[in-house]
């Protein structure tokens, strides 16, 4: 578990460089409240206190990572109660909760503080393609995330704002762009995710099926005409990487069988694209994962591991 925490530290540091020190504050508040709520819930419910296993720390970090950097630090406290007490301990308990707690916390915030959650973006601190854009069409503090700009102002505004061609991709890849705290740097999240796979903490099945589906569907239906969408941008924005490598594959809420994991991943990818294109909300992966979470046991029921060899004469 602590390895996962370690993998989340570089994106956190990056966020401090991009958005300023308040991201650290929000993350710290979020982590501390998650751990505190975990301990309190377990005490209250008369269960063993397991804060040492690090899972509440991960939830806290991920929760902070999916909220905008400009929100009040009080928000993550509320979200932590929702995520840990309701999402984790009331809806199941350790190992049995069927929704990803961090995402549940975020969904809760989005429903209760819709304005803050969709406008408290901060501009990157340093000069770059994005900075020029800040002074122009939209108010600096309520800078929207790239996907929202794309959706509401069209591709032209987007290109104008974020640059085009390789500089655009580079900004996204390194993280110089507005967005939630931890979802900006594609590079660092990718590295962290690959490290987790390399160390055997997770396998490629879910991340690859989620991202592959997003890329493919965006390419096919995400552009002006068919087959003109931008798969690379789709994968690097809207928290897709963070969701695919650190949330969709959360042990407790994803299927356990490899085949069901692929079906589950494809489902998340497809829902993400659907929500991005048709829904009112550009960062669709959060809801996509929450929608697929309760289906995990269903998929696991479809695919059972292959038994070594059936008995002679078939099953009784």
């Amino acid at each position: 578990m602590w390895t996962v925490v370690a993998c989340l530290v570089p994106p956190l540091i990056m966020s401090v460089f991009v958005f300023g020190i308040q991201t650290l504050l929000i993350t710290a508040v979020s982590v501390i409240s998650c751990v505190a709520v975990e301990a309190a819930s377990q005490k209250m419910l008369g269960r063993a206190v397991t804060i040492k296993d690090g899972s509440a720390v991960i939830t806290g970090m991920l929760l902070a990572f999916v909220i905008p950097p400009g929100v009040s630090p009080l928000l993550p406290i509320l979200a932590a109660v929702m995520a840990i007490y309701i999402g984790k301990h009331i809806l199941g308990g350790i190992g049995y909760n069927f929704f990803n707690p961090a995402l549940l916390g975020r969904a809760f915030l989005l429903a209760t503080f819709p304005v803050a959650m969709t406008s408290a973006w901060l501009p990157p601190l340093q000069d770059g393609a994005i900075l020029k854009y800040l002074g122009t069409s939209i108010d600096a503090v309520s800078t929207a995330t790239p996907l929202a700009v794309m959706k509401e102002h069209g591709a032209a505004a987007f290109t104008q704002a974020f640059g085009s061609g390789s500089s655009l991709y580079l900004n996204f890849f390194l993280g110089w762009r507005p967005g939630c705290i931890g979802e900006t740097s594609a590079l660092l999240i990718l590295l962290g995710g690959l490290f987790l796979i390399y160390r055997g903490y997770t396998t490629w099945h879910i991340p690859v099926s989620v991202l592959g589906t997003i890329a493919l569907l965006t390419w096919v239906v995400g552009g002006k005409g068919y087959f003109t969408g931008d798969p690379l941008l789709a994968v690097m924005s809207g928290g897709a990487l963070l969701g695919a490598f650190f949330m969709a594959n959360d042990y407790v809420t994803c299927p356990t069988n490899k085949k069901s994991q692929i079906v589950y991943g494809i489902g998340i990818g497809a829902l993400t694209v659907l929500i991005r294109l048709k829904g009112g909300y550009p960062e669709g992966i959060c809801y996509a994962i929450l929608l697929m979470n309760p289906l995990s046991p269903v998929f696991d029921g479809w695919f059972k591991p292959k038994r070594f060899a059936p008995p002679l004469g078939g099953d009784k």
Binding site: V252, F308, A309
Partner: protein, 440 residues
Amino acid sequence: MLSLFTFPQGGVHPPEKKELTANLQIETMPVPDELEIILGQHIGAPCTPTVAKRAEVKEGEMIGQVTKGLGVPLHSPVAGKVKDLGMSVHPMRTSAPSITITVDHGAVPLVYEKQDWESQEAKELLARVHDAGIIGIGGAGFPTHVKLSPPTDNPINTLILNGAECEPYITADHRQMVEHVTEVVEGAKIILKILGIQKCIIGIENNKPDAIAAMIKAAKEGSTSRYLVSVNALKVKYPQGSEKQLIQAVTNRKVPAFALPSAVGVVVQNVSTARAVYDAVALGKPLCEKVVTISGKGITRPANLLVKIGTKVSDIVAYLGGTAPGLTKVVMGGPMMGFAISNLDVPVTKTTSAVLFLTEGEIDTRPHSQCIRCGWCLDACPMGLEPKEIGIYVEANRAEDTEPLGVFECFECGSCAYVCPAKRPLVQFIRLAKMKAKRK
């Protein structure tokens, strides 16, 4: 480079820890003053004593016999006097009936001479295997003569000798294959003759290059037009030495659930059992001693010891200079499938392959927690089961409903428990599930 054979599904890589004893020659331990020979050494019916209290016994004399059911006779490993027909501490049950023999240290040890076996009938040889009390000494303790007379409906064509020794720490078979190559190969030939077949494949995990080299050489020299013995190097992966996995690795055949290897035309014997067959048939020596690996950081001097059956673990400890500081757990057998013992008066039986003295750093004492559904146990299980489900059923007091989950296909290899990040005692859960499901 040899191409390596392995089984495809599941499996784990626990630290091998064999370096403690891998290069130590088999050492004969002096016979202690007293031996306690447990009457139930094998799967099947326990023996009934054929000697009375205070009787004098000679070395190799039969002291117990199975009157009814499956089993083999029991012999006295030494000359001495029957001190008692009582109870002994048992590694799995708390105690078991046994014969205690006071060793006569003055008696001259028997010398066994090589006899010609090739001219004898297969039936004759099989009878000798039975009479010498040979059982599968690799672990399960199934009477060997029964395995060597498989049901006739499936013709047997391959004998596999199991030299995988995939459990961490244990090096007893390894040393047999280095120091007693010719005996092992000749034992294989005797078994081939009993089975009336030609082909024997010896499977050895690749972490024993010296054993592989020695066995390849001996197999070549021992092969004739009548007996074809060869060696397959196996990938190091636990549980490579499990019967079904080994058969699949070597022959690519899958033994159906609940069936014997003979269903796919194979008989499997452990390399040390082959050695015992050699001793029994070619030398006329009954099975009364055993090479046991004594290892772990908790024993002063690790060793591969040749001990008499009935030697108590406490005598071994005394011989090896006592236990080392930090000892926390004593395990009979390997760390994956063995049993923890709390009383060192447990005597060695025919199936004891190792006694491990483990210190705190060598075992995981963290408490177990809830299943976090990571699915690692599914990927580790070589039988394609869902250990986590079985564990959840057991905790929900539905242990008796686990048969459809395949509990009876589980052979308790412990791979699932080894990988479980929540440290769940999955094998204990499964044992409980088996017990309850059987009663249902």
